[in-house]
Symmetry: C2
Subunit: 156 residues, 2 copies
DNA sequence: TGCAATCGTTGGTTTCATACAATCATCTTG
DNA sequence: CAAGATGATTGTATGAAACCAACGATTGCA
C-alpha cells in the first residue's frame, strides 16, 4: 500500500474535475436539446462521426430494435435533421444521412463545448496549462478508449 | 496571439480527456439506469446530496412543474426508492425522503465511478499522478463550480 | 372568522421511446 | 426460378415524462 497511497487524493481531484467537465458538457448540449431529444441527438452524433449508415446498422449501434429506430428516424426526418436515401447497390436498404442542418446542430455543440473549455484554459497560467496537457494525455492513455456505446449513453 | 498559442493543443487534450471521463461516468451509471429512469435518478442524486425536501422545492430544482414531479415521485415511491413524509410543522407540505434503497443506489454509482477512476490512476506512473492532481486542481479552479441545474442534466 | 394564497394531487392530453408481431419489398441461393 | 433470408416499415400497445387546469386541504392574514 505504501506506493499507492497517493491514489486517493488523485481520485478526489479527478472526481471533482469530472464534475467541472460534466458541467461544461451539459451546458454545451443544453441548447441542442431544445431542438431534438437526447436519443435523436445521439443519432446525429453517430451520423456526423461515421457518415450515413443503414437503418439496421444505426439501430444496432444505438442498442434499440429496428422498429424503434425507424420511428426515431421519422422524427429526425420530419424535423429536417436527416434524410432517408436509397442505396443504389441494394434497394431494400435505406440509408439515413444527416442534413446540413443536422450536422450543424452537432457542430454547434462541439464548437460550444470547445469554446467553453478554451475559456477555462485561458484562465489558467500558461505553465499550468502545459502541465495539464501532459497529465491529461497520460490519463487518457491509461483510461483507454471508451466504447462508442458508452459515450452514446450521454450523447458523446 | 503569441502567448495564447498553447491553448489549442491544451483544448484538444482536454476534449479527449473529457471523452474518457464521460465513458467512465456513463459506465458507472449504466447499472442504475436499469432500475430507475434518468429523471428518477436525478431526484435520488438531489435527495442524497441535500437530504429530504419538499415536493415543490424538488420540482423547482429539477425545472419541472409540480404536477410532473408528483408523478415522478409516485414512481419512486412505488419502486421503494423514496417515501412521502408529513411535515409536522406544516401539514399541507409533503416531504420526499430517500429510502435506504434509494441512497444505496446513488452510493453504488458513486463508488463504482470512483473505483473506475482509481483503476485508471493506478495505471499511471506515480509521478504523473502527482502532476495530474495539481493540474486538475488548477483546471477545476478555473472552471468554477458548475451549477446544480447543469450537473443534473446528466445526472451528476 | 373568513377569504385569499399556498401546496400538492389528480384528471386529461400530448409527445417520445420502446417492443413485438405482421407485412411488404428485395436479395440470395439451391 | 422458386423458396427462404434479409431489411425496413407499420400496426398495436405500454410506460415515462411533461404540461395545463381543476380541485381539495391547509395556512396565514386582514
Amino acid at each position: 500500500m505504501s506506493k499507492g497511497d497517493d491514489i486517493r487524493p488523485a481520485a478526489d481531484a479527478t472526481v471533482t474535475a469530472s464534475r467541472a467537465l460534466l458541467g461544461i458538457i451539459a451546458r454545451s448540449m443544453l441548447p441542442a436539446l431544445e431542438d431534438v431529444s437526447l436519443p435523436q441527438f445521439r443519432v446525429l452524433v453517430l451520423l456526423s462521426a461515421a457518415g450515413p449508415l443503414r437503418m439496421g446498422a444505426l439501430a444496432e449501434r444505438l442498442g434499440v430494435t429496428v422498429s424503434t429506430f425507424s420511428r426515431t428516424a421519422d422524427r429526425l426526418v420530419a424535423g429536417g435533421w436527416a434524410v432517408r436515401e436509397d442505396n443504389p447497390d441494394n434497394r431494400r436498404e435505406v440509408i439515413l444521412a444527416p442534413t446540413e442542418k443536422g450536422l450543424g446542430l452537432v457542430t454547434s455543440v462541439t464548437d460550444h463545448r470547445r469554446q467553453l473549455i478554451e475559456d477555462v484554459l485561458g484562465r489558467m497560467a500558461p505553465a499550468e496549462r502545459g502541465r495539464l496537457v501532459d497529465s491529461l494525455r497520460a490519463f487518457t492513455d491509461a483510461a483507454g478508449e471508451p466504447s462508442v456505446a458508452e459515450l452514446l449513453i450521454l450523447g458523446l
